[in-house]
Assembly symmetry: C2
Homo-oligomer: 373 residues x 2
């Protein structure tokens, strides 16, 4: 393998694949990046067996492809070296004895390589009929839901995001059994078969780092044990979580005793301040009470003090509410809502609290109350 | 105590005193901030007994001083509460039973207070004849020297910065016995007696956070066991380290076998890249060799690979050099030099390396070589 390439182009793509390397992996080959130089261009590939990231630099972006070939190099070293080289043309040349030389006019690195045949063989094939969504839309889905997934390995299915696709409707559900986030999006064209998968949250956090802010499409290629995302020059593979996701439909009520409309920023700031006098050992409990057109939010830590916040609200019915919940969960749910005003909906002090945009049913946040009264 | 004050004014000053609180202190009163309201204005004070920070808000900046008095409140809570309150007028009112009420139009906090008589009595008196330096100059001294102090408690005197003041000359020395940084500044007026003190590095790191970029003066009030810095509205006290600082004058050579001039940024970048193939277990050793008008920098980690960097230089004599040193120490020393070109001076492979600005002797960086050849 022998090529020359501009530093800024190579580092842009190394920036993608380096995210597939954990550095903590005990198997050295999984801390490596595979360079695959063909007559079409250069493929870079990394994997820890849980995820795989592949990117492609077309021959038009490469100065010179002198000799095709494959090398496998320590990801952390090659990344830091390229990053610190000056912004000029970099020469990469495979030597005998599993070594590679990386050089510019004044710098010359010789690195030991790994055997390309030891690098995991990855099946990154495409599906005949991928699902297509806008990158922006999918990023939004993730930001609005995955915070509600569980980090307890005791129930693995809850550590991922459930995608349930039927016809044109995609239901994305995340829950840790104390709260639930559900977002619905509509596809442009309908799919033939029902899809019901669970994608690990930690892998979704990685793919989010690769998204740009543009309006490009993502292709979702879904298989029985993996999902492959294709966008821009990138192919991202994630394993799926085995198991059956709980049916959450029955959890979300449709009728409510009480509906209250508040300004989102006022409500957020009041909860945020009241949360200062809550403690994790007490589940960050705060109390909410309505009195006519006023919401009263209060909390206390006995040895420190107490707080009371008042904000005005608009009630749709006369019923007063009195409920307690985790301020942490409430703040996270509120962050996901992108609207001026929100609707808080209640069915009494021991029933789930629902939050949503009054104008839309696309995103629903559910929080279980804490019994204190 | 009862007053009202704009949020942005109070938070600016809380930002200063909060830095005097470690949060890890096991004595609760040392995690507190003392509010002292007099007819002149409001004093805020924090201390962990090692340092103390005091700031003053003049009555002109306070909306209303209704009742003078003193309260002592948990620093972390009062800071977070004021920070999260909206940008309006905040009312603070001492209640009976050691409580304080902090409120705005919609928020109301009641906090438990500590007994002001339990707060450490601090003697922050002024010296008759303080030493005066520009804030910028003093900040520069710290940035150029304290990185070279030791973090090994086995020799306490080396964990601080030595200030030796004689007549008009201030010599600031930092060393961990493997390298040394020395900066000299001149005072505008001379002092009567010789001063030789050691200020703990960790306290200097705290005071640096309080410096602004303006050209204001700092007063240094030096006593036998403490130093008090006064600048802007702030009084900062630091304990001194007991003990005799080693005499380092004899360590810095005045004659050299070899002097080499290089462009600082070229030299820094080359060392920075070569440092990628060094390891802490091997003292981050890199090698430097001169060959006519070329400097060759090299290093290796056997299992990973090796690197060679070349940069052009200007030699003042024919003697070639061949020496090894810690790349970490070299990079830190280079960062302190603010010039286009630097002078590297040598007396053979086992004698100290000296770095300085060719145009000035104010700042000297010394690094001991590592024997490898």
């Amino acid at each position: 393998m022998k090529l020359s390439i501009k530093k800024n182009i190579l580092i842009e793509h190394l920036n993608y694949v380096i995210k597939g390397i954990s550095n903590k992996n005990l198997i050295p080959i999984l801390n490596c990046i595979k360079f695959e130089l063909t007559s079409d261009g250069l493929y870079l590939l990394s994997t820890d067996n849980e995820i795989a990231i592949k990117t492609f630099i077309s021959k038009n972006e490469i100065e010179n492809i002198e000799e095709k070939g494959e090398i496998v190099i320590s990801g952390r070293y090659i990344y830091d070296i390229i990053r610190k080289l000056p912004n000029e043309i970099i020469y990469i040349e495979e030597l005998i004895d599993s070594k590679v030389k990386i050089y510019t006019s004044n710098s010359s690195f010789n690195l030991n390589c790994n055997n390309p045949s030891e690098f995991p063989q990855l099946d990154l094939e495409e599906h005949k009929k991928p699902i297509v969504v806008k990158q922006k839309v999918f990023k939004n889905v993730l930001q609005q839901t995955i915070f509600a997934t569980s980090n307890q390995e005791s129930r693995p299915v809850l550590t991922g995001l459930n995608l349930n696709i039927n016809d044109k409707l995609v239901e994305c559900t995340a829950t840790d059994s104390y709260r639930l986030a559900k977002k619905m999006i509509e596809l442009e064209s309908k799919i033939d078969e029902n899809i019901n998968i669970i994608i690990p949250t930690k892998n979704l956090n990685e793919i989010m780092k690769l998204f740009s802010d543009d309006d490009e499409n993502i292709q979702l290629h879904i298989f029985s044990n993996k999902i492959i995302f294709k966008f821009s020059t990138i192919t991202f593979m994630s394993r799926l979580i085995n198991g059956t996701y709980p049916d959450t439909k029955a959890l979300i009520p449709t009728d409510f005793i009480s509906k209250i409309k508040v300004k989102l920023s006022d409500f957020y700031d009041a909860i945020d301040r009241a949360s200062l006098l809550t403690s994790e050992s007490d589940k960050n409990t705060i109390k909410l009470e309505s009195k006519n057109n006023l919401l009263i939010i209060s909390s206390n830590i006995p040895e420190i003090g107490n707080v009371e916040e008042k904000i005005s609200c608009e009630k749709e019915n006369k019923e007063e509410i009195k409920i307690a919940f985790s301020s942490k969960y409430m703040l996270e749910a509120l962050k996901s809502l992108e609207c001026e005003e929100i609707l808080l909906m209640f069915n009494g002090e021991i029933k789930p609290i629902i939050l949503k945009n009054p104008e839309s049913d696309d995103l629903i946040q559910l929080i279980l109350p804490i019994r204190t009264y």
